[in-house]
Every structure is written in C-alpha cells, then in structure tokens.
Point group: C2
Chain length 411, copies 2
Amino acid sequence: MARLVMKFGGTSVANVGLIEKIADRVVKSRAQGHEVIVVVSAMGHETDRLVSLAEEVDAGGADSVRELDVLLSTGEQVTTALLAMMLVKKGITAKSYQGHQIKILTDDAHGRARVMTVEEDRLLADLAEQRVPVIAGFQGISPSGRVTTLGRGGSDTTAVAVASALQADECQIFTDVDGVFTTDPRVVPEARCMSRITFEEMLELASSGSKVLHTRAVELANKNKVALRVLSSFNDVAGTLITSEDQIMMEAPLISGIAFTKDEAKLTLRGVKDQPGIASKILAPISEASIEVDMIVQNTGADGNTDFTFTVQRSDFQTAHQLLAGVARTIEAAEVLGDERIAKLSIVGVGMRSHAGVATQMFEILAKESINIQVISTSEIKISVVIDEKYLELAARALHAGFGLEVVAET
Amino acid sequence: MARLVMKFGGTSVANVGLIEKIADRVVKSRAQGHEVIVVVSAMGHETDRLVSLAEEVDAGGADSVRELDVLLSTGEQVTTALLAMMLVKKGITAKSYQGHQIKILTDDAHGRARVMTVEEDRLLADLAEQRVPVIAGFQGISPSGRVTTLGRGGSDTTAVAVASALQADECQIFTDVDGVFTTDPRVVPEARCMSRITFEEMLELASSGSKVLHTRAVELANKNKVALRVLSSFNDVAGTLITSEDQIMMEAPLISGIAFTKDEAKLTLRGVKDQPGIASKILAPISEASIEVDMIVQNTGADGNTDFTFTVQRSDFQTAHQLLAGVARTIEAAEVLGDERIAKLSIVGVGMRSHAGVATQMFEILAKESINIQVISTSEIKISVVIDEKYLELAARALHAGFGLEVVAET
C-alpha cells in the first residue's frame, strides 16, 4: 500500500467522458489498496475561454490581476466537482477541495503565486476515513484571504506541494504522453520512453525544450524529495520515475536524453571593445524590456575586440534586435547580426560528470553529418549547441543513434 | 447619500457588453454619492451549462449534491471577477467576494441552504475606504466549510441578507422589466408600473403568478425590514418600491394588482362522505408524492356527501390524478374529475382589509362578461378564482378596467 498523489492535466479532463476514464484510474489505484489524493487542472480549453472573457473586459492594473485569479480559479473548481461526483457515482467517497478549504497558503503575488504551506490535517483525516480528496490545482489563498493562482505549471506544482505535505510515496503526473522520452518521438522514431531519470536530468531536459513537466514542479519535487512519476492518462504504462540521483543504483548512462527547441533566435553584436562591464551594458536594455536571455557566449578575438552572442525567445527577436541597434551605437560596436532560423539542441545526462569526452563525441557526430555548430554552452550535465534549424532533425537522429539511446540502458 | 445594495440577475450580466452597462449604473450611483454593494448572478445560461455537465455525470446521492453546489457556485464567481475588473477599468476600486470570504454562513442543506448570518466587518471596511464589494449571489458556506447554494431565488435572497446585515437604505433588484405592474402588460396593455407596493401585496402577487421577485426574498426583506426596489437594468426608471404597509402614508388603493397563472390543473373528488379526517385521507398520498397543492375547496351538500376540489402544478396533474383514483376506491367516493384547461386569477390589495364588497365587485365584473367561477379562495388581502383558461385574458382586462387600475392611484 502506498500513498499516491495523482495529478490530471487539462487534456485528461477535457470532457465528462475523459473524466470518467480518469475516475476509473483512481478506482483502480484504490482497489490496489493505495491511498489516493487527486489534483486536477481546468477542463481542456476552459482556461482559454475565461482568459478571453477577461480580455473582453481588458482592464489591467493590480486590482484587475487579483480579479483575474478569481476568474481563472473557477476552471479547476468545475473539474473538482465533476470528478468528485463521478467518483461518488463509482462508489468512492470523494470530496472536492479548493485552495481556501485545505488552505494552500501562497504569497500574494497574484498570477504567479508561490506555495508557502499546505495544511495536511483535513486531508489526513479524509485518508484515514477512506475518502479521496479531489484538489483544485493551480490555485491557493493569500495571507489576506484572496484567491491566488500559481501561473504556468501551477497544477503540477500544487500536486508536488500536496505530495510533500502528506509525505506521499509518489506524485503521479498524468499526461497525454507515455512518459519522458530520450528525445521527441515525432522527430526520432527510435526514441525510447525512459523508466527512470534523475531530477537534474529532468530539469535540464525541461529547460531545453522537453515540455512534459514544468521546471518549477520538478525543482519543488527535488527540493522536497518527492518521487515524481510521469505517466499516460490514456495508456496503462509504468511511465517515467523521476528520483534523486542516489536512488538510481546502477551505473548511470552516459547521456539520458536529447532536447531541442526552435523557439529561439540568435543575436550577435560584432566588434565590441573588450572591456570590463561590457556584457551588462549590452544586456541591461534587453532585461529591462523583460526579455529573457537564454544562451550567452562571448569570444575574444586577437585584436582586443570581441563578438557577443546570445539567444532570446523568437517572439522577442524583433524587439531585442531594435534595442541592440541602439546599444551598438552607444558602445560603438561594428554591427548587429540576427538569425531567426536557428535551433537549440541539448544532450543531457548525469553520466557526463564521470565521463570525459562527451562533448568531443557530440561534436564528432555532428561533424560527420557536416552540421556547423554556431554556439556552444555547457553545464555540468548538459551540452547545448545552436545550429541552423534545417539540420535539427538530422542532428537529433544522429545523436540519438550515436549515443546508443534506442538501446534500453536500464538504470 | 444612501447605502444601496444593487443586485443584477443573469440576463443583466449575460455578456461582457451588458456587464459594462451595469458597471455604468454602479458608477452613476457612486457619482451620486451613494455607498454601493453589488450582488450578481451567473451569466445568462452559465448555470444551465454547468447543470448539463453535472447531468452528464449523473451521479445522485448526498455527496453528489454537495459537489453540485461546488460546481454551480463557479457561475457567480466568474461574474464577480468580470464585474470587479470592469469597475476597476472605470476607475472604481472594486473587490469580488465569494460566500466563504465574507462568510455568508448558511445551514448545510445543500442545494437549498438558508442564510444564517452575513459577516459585515469586511464589507463595512470596504465601504469606509470607498471600495465597492462585488458579492457572488446564490452561494454561501456551511458550518463545516463546504460551499452551499441557496436554490431558487437565491441571488435575490443573498442581496436581501446582505442589505439586512449592512442596514442598507435600499436593496435594488435589477431585472429585465421596469418594475412591478398592476398585471401582465402582455395581456392587458393598460397595465401600469406601480411606484409603491406593500410586502404583503408583493408576496400575494408573487405566489399568484407574478414572476418579478421570488417569494423567499420578499419574505426575508419583510422580516428584516429591508426596503426592496425592483427596477430595470436596461431602462433608467424609478421602478417599484416594496415597503412595509405603515410606510405608505396615503390611503391604500382598493386593489394593487392582478396576478394569474396557467400553470395549474384542477382535481375534484365527487361524492365523498363528509367525515372528520377525510381531507387528510385524500391529500396524504398527494403530499407523500411531493406534489404541492395550491387551492383547496370543500363544499358540503345536503345529502351529507361533499365534493373535494384542489389545484396542483399542471406538470403534476397526471400523477395526482392516478393517486386520487386509488384514494377514491379506498374511501368509496363517487368519481374523480380532472381539468387541465383552467387558469387561476387573483386580485391583491391591502385596501381590501378596510373595504367590504371587493369580492362582490370582482364577481359582478366577471358575471358581466359571462365568465363562470369554478373555485374561490380568499385570504386577507387576496381573492383568487379558478376559471376556464380561455377566459383568462378577458377576465384580466375586465378586472383591470373595473377596478380602475390604469389610473395612477399614487400612494
């Protein structure tokens, strides 16, 4: 018998038929003797519908942001009620909870609130009496009693916070995929669903373009030692367990997965005088415009001049390009180059720590395919490269094969 | 300067355009120096949408009824957020409140909860700081912290309860009509919107087929001495003020209004032995089937036998007819007669108390039109008759003219 938090996202609860399917999964887990706590998102496109109502009003300002949270939180509330009713129909004693009822206490940063505490008393009482609590994800209550929402990845975060408070054995995130794959199966048909992966690898994959889990929930799970499992709402498969590195007994594989994204664009400022503080002079106007910078690379040339390159979200490219033109004049740089037709590709693996030469192997594989690397950036367990986007699929397949990811390297 | 509770129903908030219109009404009241508290219903057909989702689940049982309240209460929550945002946009500091936030404490009769108390502290603090609270109607919170809904007429009831707690000068119920009319203007074009009416008259009109206000809200207002005003969301008219009789200074008119309904059907048990307890023997199976009985009339004939007649909702007619057939056999009655083609018509007025002969005048007016009266029932300020439904419009017009209702008899 285990204590499980089961979290179902929007596509898993998009209509009453699907809600019945996930109710069956809950019934099955209960029949296996598990204690179950459910966390749900809003139905399918419900949040979009609510957002567009708010856009019709088009108010803006802090007071309005607070009310937006009141509006959006109804989406999850509807799902909790429907799922609880469905469970009741199937003979399970279930009870819906909103953020204010179990007190999911957050700070008062409306629209992007952080969970501070989750009261466990009521939930533990429910479990003791064989009840299944059905909790609204994505929402909480501020110290002043206002409804808050957690922002992107909010429901996953709720699930992890609840699992942590209840010391659950596992926090199961049900999605529309079978688990975490070595890379995107739509690009590399040989991609394999991993049975285990470490938090660090999952974080690097998530921040490099793998959309299965939101970084924020993974970080919270890592910090609170909550075992996370990604699995399918629709297929009965074991999914991928995300745990601490020390819980993976056998030798870790060299690399675990390949992530990529075409969402970025590259900007280069050529002929910059290499002086202390030059990087902040270049990036300050960018960050003031709330544009997030991803990879940053600076190479110093022989003549004392340097080229400064960074990537931004593709949607921010035009704005960043204009800002950079202004910076170029101020610091007397030679020119601004921009490229929207790039892709970022990353290989991730805790095995890199103990194995030298992974970068070399990656570059050799790409060179063999005549793929030019434009930018390189590395972290302890990740190597990212920027390449021309037309080579992305080729590069992903070559690396997947080259590192032997299609072979089951069970950990 | 007055303290006003302004309540807007579903048709008044059916879309964002209409929400903007009612926001303008709030802005106007504030500009006139009034303190304003708003109570809102769910948008247009939102409750229907939520009910049909619940019907898709089709659970049933007490646990499910509790969850239905969680589901339905989201409808009003959405409106509070959108209206608060709209008010903010128009430069008014507004704040949405759900039942759990201001504590609209109810009993735990889910789906038809009764309001016990409304906490006034937060609302008074808002008013002191020039804020407009926007309160979700129809919902509250039970002593165990569960969301409850108040059932039919719930939002009107919330408005009256809030007005009572805050000792508001007026509780304004905005509707899609201009106020309370002497009778239905679709039937009698001369019908006139009354500027004042007493609670007692309003209650009799409401229970006799006038749909403007729910009986429950009127009763609560009467009990707590809350001045109610019915007025239009769409037209800028003064509407109808509903107050205690002692607040109407001048002589009350003989009758105030004419209400009617075709929703009823008539059942007669002929040739019943006139014995003590016979009425309860006849009606017990009817009330056990949760069928509500409206008018009841019993005439004793010369031969010691009696005819027993009552009316029920037309939708209950078939069931009631079958039950009565069983009763007829048991008590050896002669026969069961049923008639679905009837209408009930009532004249209402506190002036009846001090004026004799109103009934006679009514019967004379109907006799002049050769309209046969099938059943008569009277209360202190109301006379109701059952007639063939084909005469309804004729009877209404004749009574409206006969009692001089088209003339402004200002009180």
